[in-house]
Symmetry: C3
Subunit: 176 residues, 3 copies
């Protein structure tokens, strides 16, 4: 198993409790060094432009145990939001949904529904996606597609609901 | 366990077999008397304005067994439609979907999909909802959000499909 | 058990590997000869107009084992796409989703979501449908409604995603 945990990045000092984000690229070939991971860096840039703070990055193969280990590690580090990219298709090696469902206390079907519905405006193949989201420990976990642009697009489709969802996952008091 | 079953209301005599409705408010705090249940009465008023007949009301805490007991009781009383309000979020005490899924013969995913899709026009947080519907015994059961306005809105989004669904759940002959 | 397998039709010689389609009508009454199957022929005509090739047809009752036997048989015959019509409602005899889910390696929720969303433009009762899709062996399996027009309409709503999905199910190389 080839799990690469990169060094956490340091956020801006003094920022008022931004969302701490962990990003996990799920890819056999990128984790084997056959090509460079593009989706992780694309998501990192997008997340930082939103004013959220990338706390941890990981690159894991399409293996249930490797995916779960990375998610549990990031949840234990206090990431309020954990994004995965890759492994949500219908190929035999695509096991991200299976890996995450075993860990989720609750699944939130609206994330996948909205990501597919909005992606349909870009491609009819959007309905092949098994993107999903749910709560693992006190973290919101969202499984995004593997293509860099698809991952960034899908994050954008659900981004407005993330701050409230992260608060609820962390059991912080909210107005409702 | 603090289950309050209120007296059934008497419908209009002579009305041609209206849909008999049971309404269950699921809330720890309302059932403990910490605040007054607003969602149940809001749903009751809305249901009666639709010409349906509210047969039974209940107020139960966010406990799987209490929710299930109320649903089974209302199904046994012959409610063709059972509405719940509350417990569909992502907090640890939100267990209405889990309680209902154990009882459902079939789940009807289109209800939750439509409620979330239409609610998205009102708030991006709509995708956090785990609203759902399905058949328990011979009753259609729909789990609505806990906020009074959200419950009434979501009922409205799916209302046009309810008469046919109730007939199918009751195994009454239909044109298809 | 009354399973009728009709003779496979022969496709156009020389056609470049068209999608080979199996069509399964699921209906107690049609398989008992109480009325003529209209949905299967309607789908066959629609499929052929798309330039795909109907390889096999079957007519089975609403029985889990009969549905599964037909699907497995068509998958073994090499049908890249298997369409079922019927048994996706909420009646007690509607068991097509249960039959298929037991066979599916992965379920693709976007197909059912899109079929319901588009059907809503035609009827509010669209949310009662439990249409679904997924991968069985190396075949894409799509469960369509039982009414002939509904089956053809729903196939049309998802048709643009089928060629790519069939390739992925068959593990043929694709551009992504």
């Amino acid at each position: 198993m080839n799990v690469v945990f990169q060094s956490p990045l340091v956020g801006l000092a003094g920022q008022q409790s931004p969302t701490q984000v962990g990003i996990i690229t799920v890819s056999d070939r990128a984790s084997a060094g056959e090509y460079m991971d593009m989706a992780g860096p694309a998501l990192q840039q997008d997340v930082e432009q939103r004013g959220w703070q990338v706390q941890s990055l990981a690159l894991v193969p399409d293996e249930i145990s490797a995916i779960q280990q990375a998610v549990k590690s990031f949840a234990a580090q206090g990431c309020g939001l954990i994004l995965t990219t890759g492994g949500t298709g219908m190929a035999e090696r695509d096991v991200t949904p299976e890996a995450l469902r075993e860990l989720m206390r609750v699944e939130l079907p609206g994330f996948g529904e909205l990501m597919r519905m909005k992606s349909l405006e870009l491609t009819p193949n959007a309905i092949l996606s098994r993107c999903l989201a749910g709560v693992v420990e006190s973290s919101l976990v969202i499984a995004l597609p593997g293509k860099p642009q698809g991952a960034v697009d899908c994050l954008g489709f659900v981004a407005d609901a993330i701050p409230h969802a992260v608060k609820l996952a962390r059991k912080e008091p909210t107005s409702c």
